[in-house]
């Protein structure tokens, strides 16, 4: 402890240390010279002898610095100064080296950010290890691809045949719509998801409920689920709004529920409406994405069988 303290003091109050060292040794030589003079030596001669017998003040000072642990910081500083001088002499080399380092560090940072978000951080949903998305696997001559954009018939096949998984389908994007409630109009983002979508993700609405199968079919009642942020902003977190009517794209919709504040949407969205998947229309093209959760008590081996 004493050494750390002494070393740190020496390092941070360097000029004071140097001044003290010089004045201490000077004082020593002067006292010795005065003593020699008192013994009858001539003043100038006394000074000369005192200096001579003390020896090199520079060498003594260097040994003192070493004694308090200043040798390696001194040498490090010297090496750094030398490095700077050499780099300054060859600016082209320096620029190339700095550019190389910058590129490497930049590329690594980008790659790590992606790996961190995609691989290291778990999905923001409960039991993320049991969640998966459904993809079509294409295999051609020497090429291979996975496509997560599916059409209505594929979704129906998953829904009807995969007994071990709880699946939901959604539109993999959001669109801007006009939202009117209580005399206020706002442009918000809407995403369409099927019944059970939030259940599959493991999210329970804060108030109200999510879509039922009855609402998620062609011609079903017009309903909407709100995000926590929208609910807070437009309804001042009023818990009695469930069942109220709001205008969405000029059509009346009934509020079914509000999602919890911590819910993180897959795509940016302020509210959700039923997807009402079909085989025709948009369902004839690859406009759907399927998310599924392994049912509790089942294993991946069973689901794959």
């Amino acid at each position: 402890m004493a050494r750390m303290h002494s070393w740190w003091r020496a390092l941070t109050r360097r000029s004071r240390l140097e001044d003290e060292m010089v004045s201490e040794m000077d004082g020593h030589i002067e006292r010795y010279a005065a003593d020699l003079e008192a013994r009858g030596m001539e003043s100038g001669e006394a000074r000369r002898v005192a200096r001579l017998e003390f020896g090199s003040m520079g060498a003594a000072a260097e040994e003192c610095r070493e004694a308090v642990g200043l040798r390696w910081p001194d040498e490090l500083a010297r090496d750094l100064r030398y490095a700077v001088r050499v780099l300054r002499k060859s600016p082209a080399f320096t620029a190339a080296a700095v550019a190389t380092l910058a590129l490497c560090i930049g590329a690594n940072t980008v790659i790590f950010s992606v790996v961190d978000a995609v691989l290291l951080r778990p999905l923001p949903y409960p039991q993320p290890e049991r969640l998966f998305s459904v993809a079509r696997h294409f295999q051609g001559k020497g090429s291979e691809a996975y496509q997560t954009n599916l059409w209505g018939s594929v979704w129906e096949a998953v829904r009807d045949n995969a007994a071990y998984v709880d699946a939901a389908v959604f539109s993999d994007g959001s669109m801007g719509v006009n939202f009117a409630a209580g005399g206020r109009v706002e442009y918000v983002k809407q995403q369409r998801v099927s019944a059970g979508f939030f259940r599959v993700l493991g999210i329970t609405p804060l108030i109200g409920r999510e879509f039922s199968a009855d609402e998620d079919r062609q011609g079903g009642p017009a309903v909407v689920v709100l995000s926590y942020a929208l609910w807070k902003r437009l309804f001042r977190a009023d818990p009695s709004i469930v069942g109220q009517a709001v205008m969405l794209r000029g059509e009346p919709h009934t509020i079914l529920g509000v999602l919890p504040a911590e819910f993180q949407s897959i795509v940016p969205a302020d509210l959700w409406t039923p997807l009402r998947p079909s085989r025709s229309g948009e369902g004839a093209g690859s406009n759907y994405a399927v998310v599924a959760r392994l049912r509790s008590g089942t294993t991946w081996a069973q689901a794959n069988g």
Binding site: H28, A60, A61, C64, A67, V68
Partner: protein, 113 residues
């Protein structure tokens, strides 16, 4: 002035600790005190005194403080710390053991056949 003896390697620290254990001293004062007590037999190389002082201060065995000296000049005074006192005690013990051992060796008589 009597005959001078070179001080043994490693004994300078002990001598300094002993000198300042008798009361705070500046560097030159330490030199004088050691010479005076040893009746000028021990001569400390002046250049190696300060590195030793800085080393001992760094280890926390002595502490330094700037004060005014006899002729109204500023001087750095060293005094023994509690840790230093302990260190001096153990060094003295070691030294005694060494001195006894060397004396024993030198006093050995040739064995009778």
């Amino acid at each position: 002035m009597g005959k001078q003896v070179d001080i043994l390697q490693g004994t300078l620290d002990m001598l300094i600790l002993k000198a300042v254990s008798l009361g705070p001293l500046h560097g030159y004062g330490i030199l004088l005190r050691i010479q005076q007590i040893s009746k000028d037999a021990l001569q400390i190389p002046q250049g190696s005194l300060y590195p030793a002082l800085y080393r001992l201060e760094h280890r926390g065995w002595i502490a330094a403080e700037w004060g005014e000296s006899e002729n109204k000049r500023k001087a750095k005074y060293y005094r023994l710390t509690a840790v230093g006192r302990k260190q001096l005690k153990s060094e003295r013990k070691e030294w005694k053991r060494l001195a006894v051992a060397i004396a024993d060796v030198l006093a050995a008589e040739p064995e009778e056949a």
